[in-house]
């Protein structure tokens, strides 16, 4: 009986090891092979089932938006420095600091508006259902909306500058 039990338990352990090992190897190989270059939009083609023409239009839109986004980020960074300078020399919130804060908020609002416009334009290139899903996911990730229409995009940790 002990021998039979040892054989069965050994076979089970071997089975678990084989399955786990092949799972990990498959996962690792896939991650290495599928890892996309930074800025690649291939994930979008798969996620939203886009054809080549749609992808081409989205890539053009994306490239145009990125240059604007770079400028907007620089503007926001400048405004932040101005706010910091205005707050640095004062012990309270001076009218100048208030003005700089308002300018920063306005700059941010303008940038967010342009960003949302980009999301809308991209979603309009996609098939209607996929476009709605993309837009809902983006708004949810960026603005924290809870639309409940599917959230394909997870919220990442943000950064201050473009790569």
């Amino acid at each position: 009986m002990n021998r039979s039990l040892a054989i069965v338990l050994g076979a089970l352990a071997l089975g678990v090891a084989l399955f786990s090992g092949s799972y990990l190897v498959g996962q690792r190989l896939c991650q290495v092979c599928v890892t996309q270059s930074p800025g690649s939009l291939d994930w979008m083609r798969k996620e939203f089932h886009l054809n080549a023409a749609e992808m081409g239009r989205i890539q053009k839109l994306h490239a145009a938006y990125l240059s604007q986004c770079n400028l907007m980020c620089r503007m926001v960074a400048v405004k932040k420095q101005e706010v910091a300078a205005a707050l640095n020399s004062a012990t309270n919130v001076s009218p100048v600091a208030e003005q700089k804060l308002a300018e920063l908020a306005a700059c941010r609002a303008q940038c967010q508006s342009r960003m949302l416009q980009y999301f809308v334009e991209v979603s309009q290139i996609m098939p209607p259902a996929e476009g709605r899903r993309y837009l809902a996911g983006m708004q949810n990730a960026v603005l924290g909306f809870r639309e409940g229409t599917g959230q394909p995009v997870s919220e990442p940790a943000g950064h201050e500058r473009h790569p």
């Binding site: 996962q27 996309q36 980009y118 983006m138 995009v153 990442p156 943000g158 201050e160």
Partner: protein, 103 residues
């Protein structure tokens, strides 16, 4: 020697020593008989394990099972890796088009 000699036969019978039985001999004999006739309580479990062990040791069964496990594990792993890579690409996209400075 005459086998029909009654006197000689009686003498031989008298000279044969009869050993004394050990204590509780009869009780022990009956207990051993009962033990031998009673079914073993773990017989079914024993046979099930032995059947499994025999099955596992069959080369064709072992090879087929190992192949299925490796293929299933690899397919699931590839699927999980694809999902993880996709999630990473989505996160990268979001960081690019909506950096923290603009939120």
């Amino acid at each position: 020697m005459n086998p029909d000699d009654a006197k000689l036969s009686a003498l031989l019978r008298a000279s044969r020593a009869e050993p004394a039985l050990p204590p509780r001999f009869q009780e022990n004999v009956w207990r051993r008989i009962e033990d031998a006739e009673a079914p073993a309580p773990s017989t079914s479990r024993l046979s099930w394990l032995e059947a499994m062990a025999a099955l596992v040791l069959r080369p064709r069964f072992a090879l087929a099972t190992a192949t299925v496990l490796v293929v299933a594990g690899a397919l699931l792993g590839v699927h999980a890796g694809d999902l993880a890579a996709n999630r990473a690409a989505q996160a990268q996209y979001l960081t690019t088009v909506a950096p923290a400075a603009l939120r």
